[in-house]
Symmetry: D3
Subunit: 158 residues, 6 copies
């Protein structure tokens, strides 16, 4: 089996989903950003008071997920019916984990929307903290779970 985004001559194409059925589809993706103790503390105190970095990052992640088809050349346009971005702070690692869940009723899955939501949310955290720390690292971005569509349920353990 070869790559689905190329035709018989090796030219790039958007996959033809015209004849696929509209089904409920859901995907969840995750990722993390590793920061300095100083940045970690700034984010933590903002989350409970003034300077809410994670609030801005949630909003940016949801807006980014909605624009996935503009960024990823061969993604189909999908009317998302649900999107949420949440964070988990792990103090012993100075790390913020991000989770993005996306749903639609459509002909293709929403994995890319969930992964884009995570990426944009983490880049937003980076942007807001980069004056304090220029050695942050974003990583471990992957698909946690996916339901609906021909490939059915997929689950990736960490």
């Amino acid at each position: 089996m070869g790559l689905t985004h190329f035709d018989e001559e090796g030219k790039v194409v958007m996959v033809d989903v015209t004849n696929k059925e509209d089904t409920v589809r859901e995907a969840a993706a995750t990722g993390k950003i590793q920061v300095s103790p100083e940045v970690y503390e700034a984010i933590r105190s903002g989350a409970v008071g003034k300077g809410d970095v994670l609030g801005v990052a949630s909003t940016a992640g949801i807006m980014g997920a909605k624009r996935t088809s503009e960024l990823i050349p061969l993604c189909h346009i999908l009317p998302l019916t649900n999107c949420r971005v949440r964070f988990e702070m792990v103090p012993e690692e100075y790390t913020i984990y991000c989770y993005c869940t996306v749903k639609t009723t459509g002909k293709t899955g929403v994995e890319m929307e969930a992964l884009t939501g995570v990426s944009v949310a983490l880049l937003t955290i980076y942007d807001m903290c980069k004056a304090l720390d220029k050695s942050m690292e974003i990583g471990e971005i992957y698909l946690c779970r996916k339901t609906g569509g021909k490939s059915g349920e997929i689950q990736n353990e960490n």
Copy 2:
């Protein structure tokens, strides 16, 4: 020193760069995607023949870098004067490394543009290969180097 994207009341603001000088600024970022042997082989053979995944990902990465200020809420709009995205394939790890370099003459740096270019390029690879492998992982996204502006040269070793 606190976060620069919030005012004295903890409200989010775009940082005021009105009085900063226009200087030449450059930034380079990196990241990687870990794939299955099957995907690695599909990408490798495309790069030398038909089905050029990395060519599409380069184009997407450059286009993504140009749209950084639309995605990241507090990023300034910058007229990029140069952008390139390149890849390095490491067969023993089944990994593709991505590098994005961005330049501008302006009042703020282009770190976020370089990091966004890397992120969009790697997400594009993910999208084009996801029919073959749903357990790929994107990671190690960080700023390699930055020159120009008040903070001068910054270098991050791997």
Copy 3:
């Protein structure tokens, strides 16, 4: 009853409409711009001859309504099936009233699209006349009418 755009922890979410039915939905919104006698006369004469401010504003309003989900963070993407923007000039008040009607067949209403269409149309009038008058005022933007969906018909008298 609390705000629908936050989860149990107070974090922002796009409302989940996955299980709502696709129904025909319609919304109409209005707003106005108060201008100087000089601007009023310039718009009026353009509407019947050269320099058609309201024609440009209609086009901008329709295009703005189509992009609502990009501007308003938690709005769902909706394929509008109809949109029109029209104006009513009231000479004794030196005021132009704007009306925007939007329809879709979908899982959520189109109130925000109608309100965004009105706002962008009025801002466009402001932009085209601001060399003549810098004290114009935009106001009285509200939802006139809404049909379809769970909340059924809503009517707001002026």
Copy 4:
């Protein structure tokens, strides 16, 4: 003096600013949203705890201001050097006032950016509260102050 956005034949044009000098320009605009007591209370309690409507609206307003030239047909593209959106809650009127300040160094003013920032921020509040109240009204959107450029300082009293 006629409208500046039309040529001698009455055809729409983007005003030619090629020969204008780059100067520091600033603009501040305001507007308000009138809500029900129930919505007012929901917003107020969110601002101090969970469900921060005004935080999301600030972010949306800043992002909207950056995209003004895409929405308003004849606006020039301007690299904003500063943007902030803040709110003032007036309990006796059940009203939230919004203020947006924008700066740039460029050939044209940033009035439209400030007015667009206000409009998008207020529309975002509307969107997040519309499940509770469908009779909210947005109004009193005008330019408070403008400095820089040929027309110098402009001040509009309320």
Copy 5:
């Protein structure tokens, strides 16, 4: 029969398709770019080796087709289910022909998406070759074929 994009008063409107049925629709459009022998040779050699102009143009054409409703004021937003852009090089004319095919299941046709895909692809070729030749010409852009919808099948011979 008059123009469908204006109401009884001659004001511009988006055509109301609310009551039209969702059917499978397909459209194919074509166009060409006439270049110098030097440019022709540069494109030809890139297509088989390094410097793949047509690969970049394909990607741009597909991305452009997806954004048709943002560019063309009265176009409806349509979730494309398939899009492909391909090229044919005719050495004796120093001409590259472009073909774009688009499909959807929706209430309106995809002619404009196919024509926009062709236009953006050809403009991308122009951009990448303009340092070598400033007298290239884009032309013969028309709809080849259209199926689905009320007007049924349409075929335009060259």
Copy 6:
């Protein structure tokens, strides 16, 4: 001399203009659309009364020119300082000619902006008339004139 948009390995790059000087640059492009007598008459009567197709097309062309860098992958972002789109109707050919002029002060030329303005304006005419005629043809899109920058003045005769 080879193509400027590829590096030594044949990989696509945005051309580096960091060290180029900011100069005043201007470009003018043209193109035409051939229509049926019926469409020609509908456009002609609209231009002098109700249903102003060319007014909408002008607005769309200007807005399209401003978004060139989003559509054409390797175009630089340029703050246009002037843009106008005008039409000439030639009754004996049932043809509408379109002209777009663009100016900027920047490091790269505005040829692509002028050509994109023409293309979007002509596609908009097509869209608004396609219910009457599905055999229209867009063509003869080329650069008329260009001044400023290293290559100086370029003039293309018809």
